[in-house]
């Protein structure tokens, strides 16, 4: 259960996350703005509300795990880990530079707090299944959270994994779809048909809940709801906006992985700082 003050604090945290995401990316270099911004509220709810996590001990064996299957959105995870103190905030500025621990896609052997190597889409849910099964074999009580892109659902391995999760009765697994409706080039309904998405997952045997992925209270409620699913995996379909928080990026596929100009950067930062101020009031 969440109090209004807790929700307000989480909203501020999410606004700060968005600001950090754009600041670490900066102008004139191609970055995955769109998907990182659409995932920011979800990642905030996980790290700052739901997950049992000790930033001072990111290898704690009983920690809840977060697997970023849509690996290109890892800047959102970097922002959370740095804010928690897993690594220094200043390190965010090294994103994708030669020699940096912050690789362009998640690399568990480079970055403290990163739980899996992803980047090739479609592989993360299977990995999360393995982490969830390891809890059973090793008699540990941690939970596993896996964030999927909606475009990522075009990859066949996701559906293999989805059937394994149900077969193995993985009640300690929660998957979340960042349903921003855009992939790299255009709509997620181009190339393949995803809808009706919720009935598809339900028909496989997942407990499914749909939420507004930018409504912090709804996200927290959905994550609490997933705690109650004991013998089946939970799927939260989070309806989001790609590029959320920056007016000229919102709902545009063009900012999936693209550079922005100095002027666009100043505008984006100004908008996000304004949002942060509004949240602070």
């Amino acid at each position: 259960m969440t109090s209004q003050s807790q929700i307000n604090a989480l909203r501020r945290q999410a606004a700060e996350m968005r600001w950090r995401i754009v600041c670490m990316m900066g102008p004139n270099k191609a970055h995955h703005f769109g998907g990182s911004l659409s995932a920011a509220d979800i990642v905030t709810a996980l790290y700052f509300y739901k997950m049992r996590y000790d930033a001072a001990n990111p290898k704690w064996p009983d920690r809840d795990r977060f697997v970023m299957s849509k690996g290109h959105s890892v800047p959102a995870q970097y922002a959370a880990l740095a804010k928690l103190g897993v690594f220094p905030l200043e390190e965010l500025a090294t994103l994708k530079y030669l020699g940096s621990r912050l690789q362009g896609h998640p690399a568990m052997h480079y970055t403290p707090g990163i739980e899996a190597c992803t980047g090739a889409l479609g592989e993360g849910l299977s990995f999360a299944n393995g982490v969830a099964l390891a809890a059973r074999v090793m008699e540990r009580s941690y939970r596993v959270y896996c964030l999927l892109g909606d475009g990522e659902l075009h990859e066949g391995q996701v559906w293999e994994a989805a059937m394994t999760s149900v077969k193995q009765c993985l009640g300690n697994l929660v998957a979340i779809i960042d349903r921003n409706r855009l992939k790299a080039m255009d709509a997620t309904e181009c190339g393949k048909i995803l809808e009706p998405l919720a009935p598809r997952w339900a028909s496989i045997g997942w407990a499914v809940k749909e939420v507004d992925g930018h409504d912090m209270a709804a996200l927290c409620d959905a994550l609490d709801w997933a705690d109650g699913q004991v013998n089946q995996p939970s799927m939260i379909i989070a309806h989001t906006v790609k590029g959320k928080g920056v007016s000229f990026m919102a709902g545009q596929a063009g900012f999936h992985n693209a550079p922005i100009t100095e002027e666009q950067y100043r505008q984006a930062v100004a908008e996000l700082e304004l949002a942060l101020k509004e949240q602070a009031q």
Binding site: M108, E123, S126, F127, N129, L133, A134, M163
Partner: protein
């Protein structure tokens, strides 16, 4: 003398024993547990056995997640599927972070037999060899398979082990000491030195015996670790040989022959190299022995190839 046996049988029995000794060992399969012989582990340790169904990529990614949590997963399928279907998740999730997932490819090569080209892995070593952090094991007989199965549990990184469903005669006694990364002389001789792997080790030994009757002194080296290659032993052998020969039940592109060629090309002039294997083509349905004969990989064919190549050198 023990009977000929298939290396997959020795693996299944070793895995069962390993399961008794090591609670962190888990086994994954993709609907082939009777063929891969993980059925023994499955029956003994149902809580540590996971048949994910016919989804090999899902299997290896699941194993990566388990390895990230401290388990030691052995993943099983046919050699062609576990390397071919799973190349990307093996690359991203296992080789890149060097997680200790053991990939076991069963029923490799032409001796897979009647199922034909779709099932006959002739490129599996090539696929795995290009991956950083990947170790490739190709044991020659039952005893070596057993020792390799145990050795992999203590090996800190990922590995691919290639096992056969073709009866192969015993080569080693129980006092054999398999070590990852070490090749071994089985028969001394420097006129022709034959480096062989897997089923081809027994074939090479038989060919060397025949060559002795021809008056050719042929040595045989068992290369049971294809990566990392025992470069010191290979270079030393090639420096003293008249002809260096590789024999493998694999394409001559990307496998043992390629590994040896790469190694020798960077050293001082060594003996000329003859690569025996499948010459850049697919397999086909047939009996194992027929297929080996067709591709010149029975002792008779190996002997003939060596004599032909040796003639202008002597």
């Amino acid at each position: 003398m023990r009977d000929s046996t298939e290396t997959r049988f020795a693996y299944g029995e070793a895995l069962l024993e390993l399961g008794e000794q090591r609670p962190e060992v888990v086994v994954l399969d993709a609907d082939l547990y009777k063929s891969t012989r993980t059925v023994l582990f499955r029956d003994a340790f149902p809580d540590r056995f996971f048949d994910v169904g016919i989804s090999e990529a899902d299997m290896v990614s699941t194993a990566a997640g388990m390895a990230a949590c401290g388990l030691i997963p052995y993943c099983n399928s046919f050699a062609m599927f576990i390397t071919g279907i799973c190349y990307m998740p093996i690359r991203t999730q296992i080789a890149y972070p060097s997680l200790p997932v053991k990939l076991v490819g069963s029923s490799y090569g032409l001796t897979q037999g009647p199922d034909g080209a779709s099932h006959q892995s002739l490129e599996d070593i090539a696929l795995m060899r290009g991956l950083p952090n990947m170790t490739i094991i190709s044991p020659a007989d039952d005893i070596e398979t057993r020792q390799a199965t145990f050795a992999l549990a203590d090996w800190p990184g990922p590995a691919y082990m290639r096992l056969g469903r073709y009866p192969t005669p015993p080569i080693f006694d129980a006092d054999h000491h398999f070590e990852i990364g070490k090749a071994k002389w089985l028969r001394k001789g420097s006129e022709a030195v034959i480096a062989a792997t897997g089923h081809m080790v027994a074939k090479a030994l038989a060919a060397a015996e025949d060559l002795a009757h021809d008056g050719v002194e042929a040595g045989v080296i068992n290369v049971s670790t294809i990566k990392p290659l025992d470069e010191a032993l290979i270079k030393d052998a090639a420096a003293r040989a008249v002809l260096f020969v590789t024999v493998e039940e694999h394409s001559i592109i990307g496998g043992l022959g390629s590994a040896v060629a790469e190694c020798l090309a960077e050293t001082r002039p060594a003996a000329p190299l003859l690569r025996l294997g499948v010459r850049d083509c697919f397999g086909e349905s047939g009996l194992a022995d027929e297929l080996l004969e067709k591709h010149g990989l029975q002792p008779k064919g190996i002997r003939a190839s060596v004599l032909q190549r040796l003639a202008p050198l002597s």
